[in-house]
């Protein structure tokens, strides 16, 4: 790439047409943002998604491949060819699929298009847990106690490190994620076996035997900070969220702001996140995920993309994150004075999935009737209407129900009513689970930890048995 292209890429450049390389509710969300900004949105879909539409037929998204993600939404060549044939000038990857694939980001830029996301180098840095931790430590972002470098091969040296950190510790694969490739060690006698097993698992599952070790936190909450950056060295944090209500490492309910966090502490952590972004040359939107325990934050990872739960921050920070993301990609200068990390009111998001409410197995099928609530402080992000066929090929998320109210208690009440008014017939959904969560006294009080939902589900199972 010549110097002029390199310079153009560094500051971004304007575009009029955008290919949305994703599906479902996020494709609808990005399409709406394009309309608001006067951009031409180009939608693509797999054969399964085109056939599953409530009113399939002429027009609609351009089919790019068969149902399997590998041949459609993860097929870089098919997406680049579709961009070429439709005259797209930019590609928005949404979340999941290719959104955190540095090679894809690079291929998009190489094809002369704008990748709506951070530079490939930033995706690579943050995708490697060890490199990410090192970068965060350099920026003064608090990390979980443990060396920011791969574990040595020598077991005795590992044992010394573990004792310095203090048990319990967790051994993790550097290239892992989603709860795989990690082991908790509570005693020095188990460290050698844990390291050997995790290293082998890392080699097999992720093709990378590197491990690292950290202090294991027993009852943390999951709290994350949203950042916004442009291509001119400006970065701000715009709010924090609590995503502790999880099942099998999958978030179920999110809220903003995270309850019970002292404003001065949030300001200090948020400012360090923004500083880290400036140091790694970040662009667009991003999320720093932390564990939070006993009043301390511990960085776990950065997501270099738009998050599923971005609407709760939009509601409380008064920001349109997709607009900001598109503006940053076009090289606009971020209005840093507009965002100060302050939350207005409280917001919740329920992820509504097509799944069996008891077994939590995905439950694809065709919806026969769909009715979502409406009214003040209620937002529904969805691609689903009556007659829509939920595909077995993809994530089972069919809608996000978001409420916003002046206080947390009012937002809880608003969500209880909104859930009761939601009707999705023809398929099973996790609506009953959400209703139980919003009737749980501990949850209503706030500040539950990441194990709370699974513990509650186990208790319910015992009662039934």
């Amino acid at each position: 790439m010549d110097a002029s292209n390199e310079a153009a890429r560094e500051i971004g450049h304007s575009f009029q047409s955008l290919l949305i390389a994703n599906r479902g509710e996020i494709a609808v969300r990005i399409e709406r943002a394009c309309k608001e900004l006067g951009l031409r949105a180009i939608l693509v879909a797999s054969e399964a998604d085109r056939a599953g539409a409530a009113a399939p037929g002429e027009g609609g998204p351009l089919s790019i491949g068969p149902p399997s993600p590998a041949r459609s939404y993860l097929n870089q060549a098919a997406i680049l060819l579709a961009a070429r044939v439709t005259g797209a000038e930019a590609i928005h990857p949404g979340y999941g699929f290719l959104s955190e694939n540095a090679d894809f980001a690079e291929a998009v830029e190489k094809a002369g298009l704008v990748f709506v996301g951070p530079p490939a180098s930033a995706i690579r840095t943050m995708g490697d847990k060890i490199a990410a931790k090192r970068a965060m430590m350099a920026a003064g972002v608090p990390c979980v106690p443990g060396p920011g470098e791969p574990l040595p091969d020598n077991v005795e040296a590992v044992r010394v490190l573990a004792e310095a950190i203090g048990y319990p510790v967790i051994v993790k694969a550097a290239g892992g994620g989603g709860g795989r490739g990690m082991r908790v060690v509570r005693d020095g006698a188990d460290i050698a076996d844990a390291v050997a097993l995790t290293r082998e698992e890392a080699r097999r599952a992720f093709g990378k035997p590197e491990l690292y070790m950290e202090k294991f936190l027993e009852h943390p909450r999951h709290v994350e900070f949203q950042v916004l950056c442009d291509n001119h060295g400006n970065a701000v944090w715009v709010g924090h969220r609590d995503c502790s209500v999880q099942r099998r490492h999958q978030k179920v309910v999110e809220e903003a702001p995270a309850p019970g966090i002292a404003p001065e502490l949030a300001e200090r952590i948020g400012a360090r996140c923004a500083e880290a972004c400036r140091q790694i040359g970040y662009r667009g939107v991003g999320t720093f995920e932390f564990l939070y325990e006993h009043g301390e934050f511990y960085f776990i990872e950065m997501n270099t993309r738009l998050q599923v739960e971005h609407p709760v921050t939009e509601a409380t920070a008064g920001v349109d994150l997709v607009h900001e993301q598109l503006r940053a990609a076009q090289g606009d200068v971020l209005d840093t004075g507009r965002y100060r990390g302050e939350a207005r009111g409280h917001a919740f998001e329920c992820r509504i999935n097509a799944e069996d409410p008891t077994t939590f197995m995905a439950a694809p099928g065709r919806t026969s009737a769909v009715r979502f609530p409406s009214g003040p402080g209620i937002r529904v992000d969805t691609h689903v209407s009556a007659g829509y066929r939920v595909s077995p090929y993809y994530d089972s998320l069919i809608a996000k129900l978001i409420v916003h109210a002046p206080t947390r208690d009012e937002a809880v009440r608003r969500m209880q009513i909104a859930l009761a008014e939601t009707r999705i017939e023809g398929i099973s959904t996790n609506l009953p689970l959400h209703e139980r969560i919003f009737a749980d006294p501990d949850f209503m009080q706030g500040c539950v930890d990441i194990h709370h939902l699974e513990k509650r589900l186990r208790e319910e199972a015992c009662v039934k048995a």
Partner: protein, 154 residues
């Protein structure tokens, strides 16, 4: 807002003898699920790449998963990838459209092309049969799996 632009995209591709270019095109071809492509330039140069049977890295990986989509709907002949449909070779070879209603195509005949920039992917008749209907219109954007024509046994 128009979701389907009829533009055939930007033209211009590097040196056809460049192994890296051929390698990239071959990877794209494999990923698209098609088996051959042909590129022609205005100055008369042509590059044709034909994948050996079973050479596509993607073709078998998800075969079981895609079984439902590979079931033919009637005798529809579908587009092998997204692009602009051409009813004849853009180089001007031949007198007119390669197919039309009530014409008989032999198995292996080229019924049209899908064009993506400088790449041409042929749409091939899977069996000897009568063309009952042509669904794709020349110059229009079609998607992967969109029906190009319907064939009936003569």
């Amino acid at each position: 807002m128009s979701r389907r632009d009829r533009s055939s995209g930007r033209s211009g591709i590097g040196d056809f003898s460049d192994p890296a270019l051929i390698s990239t095109l071959t990877a794209w071809l494999g990923a698209s699920g098609a088996s051959e492509l042909e590129i022609s330039t205005k100055d008369g140069h042509t590059l044709k790449i034909v994948l050996a049977p079973d050479a596509s890295p993607v073709r078998h990986r998800d075969e079981a998963q895609d079984a439902a989509s590979s079931v033919p709907e009637g005798r529809a002949v579908k587009a092998p990838l997204a692009g602009v449909f051409r009813d004849r070779h853009p180089g001007g070879f031949g007198p007119g459209p390669l197919t039309g209603e009530d014409r008989t195509l032999e198995a292996g005949d080229i019924a049209g092309f899908v064009e993506v920039g400088p790449i041409l992917i042929p749409v091939i008749a899977p069996a000897t049969a009568l063309v009952a209907g042509v669904h794709a219109r020349a110059g229009e954007l079609i998607g992967y799996g969109d029906p190009v024509l319907t064939m009936e046994h003569a």
